[in-house]
């Protein structure tokens, strides 16, 4: 049996990877250790959030499924940063941990060209530095033109609670260490990372009267997907609840600090934990002056009673976890259903990857998700999607699909990974993007639908609808730019009424809209606009923030010019005289494909880049 693409791992990266490959007409096999764990959410019960929510929309625009499935399984939708500028708005859903995997499994099963198999992959089968298949633990050899590893935290993982270390995947699933060995055998450099998860408690044992309710957004029916229309009811949404730690909590933590795995409970920890997701003991040690820390109680499902305590990730022994939980408001009688734990696992040093997520060492082998040093469902899913697309393109002998930093957060993420590597698990943040005013939540479809169409990942009907939207935006913008509001007593009276200043000469509606107090409904009094909200939103943003947006585009152009200066694959950095030795070493490690990428490598200075450019030009003359 020979497949085009084998995907190893059925998490968020694996699902998107196999769906993309199958939709691109590749005979695809998804191998998972446990079919019940497809698209499992072993940590927080939410999808999206700042920056990540924008990634989910990008995945949707590119033809991935995370957005659509989150929409189907949501139990609460919230628009974050609603009061801030357009660049930083982001959607977050609390999703039902039971429904999300079910819906994903349905999606996988309903996709042509896609098979699912329960098994453990233990070895890569490589011939002449090319992947040709995988071997499973039970001795099968499966052949494929391309393999995508999306093993998450399952490679040589161990769970840490207090002074106990146990070889195990997330919540007791089996871990695989043979694959780590196989990768090392093929000269991959592995790093050790660590992450953690908080305890879950029984919602029937919580006194919610001592907490503050945090409902979702109720002004609109938000969805991740540009295509789907919302079907949920506002009052059907579930709430989260806010509580704080207190001095008693901190006392217990301080008293028992050396019982935490990370603070002496275990002394053989190598894994580096994520900075953005510190354990509660980390927070209390590092920020000793803070007298309280915020915690959110988040429901995991409509169908079972677990409540996830966001902010209380820890590696204390079980009995200390019990003591800590009991100090929290409303939780004095709380019953812990699952204990918190930290997990250590193997990941690949991501500088060993090409921009397409293909490994540099082994051709046609791709990796995506936590194995590449990231953290988060969204970060994993978008890499999976790109790896799936690129594995398929490679088989078709086509150019890889690479998103630039000014095109998508996905582009920022992958470029960061392969250019800078990771020290701790990588999370997307808005501050990682240089051009976030271009990379907005509201325009992900405008940025990326063309690629979905190019790779056959969007239905024709949907694409036509999108093109119509594009045209409508242009039409409305032109209309507002071509038509002027002329001064008159009546017009000026209306302006004064809303606290705006009067006009003496005609002003285009587009320019009038730039005034902070002028809304589209005000403009509608003077000019007929019958477009839908989505179209109007784009034109309003283009008017109100025109200066900033144009500046961002100019900056982006500068960057693109440098991206377009390519560095040949076979360049020998040892031959370039005058390069600083640190730069030489970093350039050899990362092997950037363009001058633009070379500049972003830490340790490579402008003078090194100049020398590199001169050397390249010289090479050009040599030929």
């Amino acid at each position: 049996m020979k497949y085009d693409v084998i995907v190893v791992g059925g998490g968020h990266a694996g699902c998107e990877a196999s769906l993309a490959a199958a939709k691109m007409n590749k005979k695809t096999l998804l191998i998972t250790s446990n079919i019940m764990n497809i698209a499992d959410m072993p940590c927080n019960p939410s999808i999206g959030g700042s920056a990540k929510g924008i990634v989910v929309r990008e995945i949707d625009a590119l033809g991935g499924v995370m957005g659509k499935i989150a929409d189907k399984s949501q139990i609460q939708m919230k628009m974050l940063n609603d009061k801030k500028g357009p660049a930083v708005k982001a959607l977050r859903a609390q999703v039902d941990k039971k429904i999300y995997p079910e819906e994903m499994l349905k999606e996988l099963k309903n996709t042509d060209n896609l098979e699912i198999m329960e098994s453990f992959v233990s070895e890569l089968v490589v011939d002449m530095n090319k992947i040709v298949g995988v071997k499973t633990l039970d001795g099968q050899e499966l052949k494929a033109k391309s393999v995508i590893l999306t093993t998450g935290t399952y490679m040589d993982s161990s769970i840490l609670i207090g002074d106990k270390r146990e070889a195990s995947g997330p919540h007791g699933e089996k871990t695989i260490n043979d694959l780590s060995k196989s990768l090392k055998k093929h000269n991959f450099e592995l790093i050790r990372l660590k992450t953690g998860t908080p305890p879950r408690i029984d919602k029937n044992t919580v006194d919610f009267s001592q907490t503050r309710e945090e409902p979702g957004s109720k002004d609109k029916k938000y969805t991740f997907s540009f295509k789907g229309r919302p079907t949920y009811k506002y009052d059907d949404q579930m709430s989260c609840h806010l509580i704080y730690t207190n001095s008693t909590t901190h006392e217990i933590i301080n008293k028992n600090i050396n019982k935490s795995s990370m603070y002496g409970g275990l002394n053989d920890i190598e894994g580096v934990g994520p900075r953005y997701c510190p354990s509660i003991e980390d927070k209390i040690v590092r920020f000793a002056d803070k007298d309280k820390h915020q915690l959110f109680l988040e429901p995991e499902s409509r169908y079972y009673d677990d409540i996830y305590i966001q902010g209380l990730s820890t590696s204390f022994p079980k009995e200390i976890q019990e003591q800590i939980v009991k100090t929290l408001p409303g939780l004095s009688n709380a019953k812990i259903l699952k204990y918190a734990y930290a997990i250590e696992y193997d990941a690949l040093k991501p500088t060993q990857l090409h921009q397409s997520l293909e490994t540099k060492m082994i051709e046609n082998l791709f990796t995506a998700g936590q194995i590449n040093g990231t953290s988060g469902y969204e970060e994993a899913a978008c890499q999976g999607l790109l790896a799936g697309i690129n594995a398929s393109l490679k088989i078709d002998k086509k150019k890889p699909f690479i998103l630039k930093r000014n095109e998508a957060y996905i582009g920022v993420l992958i470029d960061d990974l392969i250019t800078k590597g990771v020290q701790d698990p990588y999370r997307l943040l808005t501050s990682r993007a240089e051009f976030r005013l271009i990379l907005r939540h509201d325009n992900a479809d405008l940025r990326l639908s063309k690629y979905a169409e190019k790779y056959g990942l969007i239905e024709e009907e949907e694409y036509k609808k999108f093109q119509q939207k594009e045209r409508n935006i242009q039409k409305l913008e032109n209309k507002l730019k071509e038509n002027k509001l002329k001064p008159s007593e009546e017009v000026n009276a209306e302006l004064l009424k809303i606290g705006s200043s009067i006009i003496k000469d005609g002003i285009t509606f587009f320019n009038l809209l730039k005034r902070p107090e002028i809304t589209i409904s005000f403009i509608k009094k003077f000019i007929n606009i019958d477009d839908n909200e989505e179209v109007i939103e784009q034109v309003v943003i283009n008017s109100k923030y025109e200066g900033y947006i144009n500046k961002a585009y100019r900056e982006a152009e500068k960057m693109i010019r440098l991206e377009n200066k390519k560095i040949p694959k076979n360049i020998d950095y040892n031959k370039i005289q005058n390069l600083a030795s640190e730069a030489r070493q970093k350039l050899n490690e990362v092997r950037p494909t363009s001058i633009g990428q070379a500049i972003r490598i830490s340790g490579v200075n402008p003078s090194d880049v100049s020398i590199l450019m001169v050397y390249l030009k010289k090479g050009g003359l040599d030929e």
């Binding site: 500028g85 915020q294 959110f296 808005t430 501050s431 005013l437 005058n578 200075n605 001169v614 030009k617």
Partner: protein
Amino acid sequence: MDDTIVGISTTMGVGAISIVRLSGKEAIKIASKIYKGSNLKKVKSHTIKYGHIYSGDEIIDEVLVSIMKTPNTYTKEDIVEINCHGGITTTNKVLELCLTNGARLAEPGEFTKRAFLNGRIDLTQAEGVMNLINSKTEQSRKMSINQLGGSTSDQIKKLRQYLIEIIAQIEVNIDYPEYEDIEVLENEHLKPKLSKIKKTLSKIIKDSEQGKIIKEGIDTVIVGRPNVGKSSILNMLIDEEKAIVTDVAGTTRDIVEGQINLDGILINLIDTAGIRKTKNIVEKIGVDKSMQLLFKNDLVLYVVNNNEDITDEDIEILNKLNDRNYIIIINKNDLEQKLNIEKLKKYKNIVHMNTITNEGLEELKNIIKKMYNLETFDSKDMTYVTNAKSLSLLKKSLKEIHKIEEGIEKEIPIDLLEIDLKQIWSNLGEITGETLHDELIDQLFNQFCLGK
């Protein structure tokens, strides 16, 4: 390679003429913005034009400008060379004007690099170019370390730290919108922070300009009607410090007659159009152009004769000097007072002098010291930025602050204003030589307690 670069292509402080060289698509456009004379956009390639460099309405230097159009130039791009005559200070100012008008400061060896990349220099020279870049980088690195005195560098670093704390807070509000224990920074909160930054920036700029004075001296011109004793004052000042009188080449027209050292501060005495030679300066002053020559200099010593009354011409000139640094010297104090002192009541900085007894010399020095805050200025502690690039980055940053303040008025959301804040932060980083994007991420996690 698509932007326009500028650099001083002669060695600073060596030779009477310094050349500021622009290369790139916008070279002619940028030069036109600061030059008055011929229309540079229309002149033929490889010609030289006479004219003046202006900063707003103020003449900076009298120059010759060479225009060389692509492709027959050193870099194969449009090149404009501005031949400056005014010494270090004016050359730096011309450079700064080019920078603020859209040029970028050339990296070490960049003209040669462009010449090479554009195919002007052949293969055999390539290695040489790389060596050049290497050595010049090292050179300029050393230089910039020396240029940045410890305390300015500290001040800028502190300012950057202050900025990044604000930026990190804005970022954290975006990335962790539900963290209630972190104060949400609104436009209103930004205002006092901005004025604090503005204050610090303005101070560094002011100190730097003052620093330049310390390093390069105060250009001082002595003017007055005929026979008021300008020459004797000039001679008295020079006699005072005979040991260091030197002839320094200035502009073609203005000759630095001598430099005197005032408690460590150089005073460049400039003989505008030659007091010694022409004696009829006041007739010239009636002409606007000559008047502008007065404004070019840092300090004007206006001399009147105690033995004659003030004329309307005197009053007219003094009124024009109103917002400049000037000192009125009432000379010939030993002679009978015919001057009506009432007429000078509304002017400040008046010194009575007698060039024979040196009366008033100390007072003159004290006024100058006070005027330039030289008493509070510790010349050993060089708290200033001397190079034009750094100064232009500081001034650009100040402009950004004004832009943010405008944005606040227009109710622009804070996450957009932050883009300009980041620009300032990166400008300052360029001065101190640290612009690492990852600093921000580090700051985020060090400053705030975040996480799930």
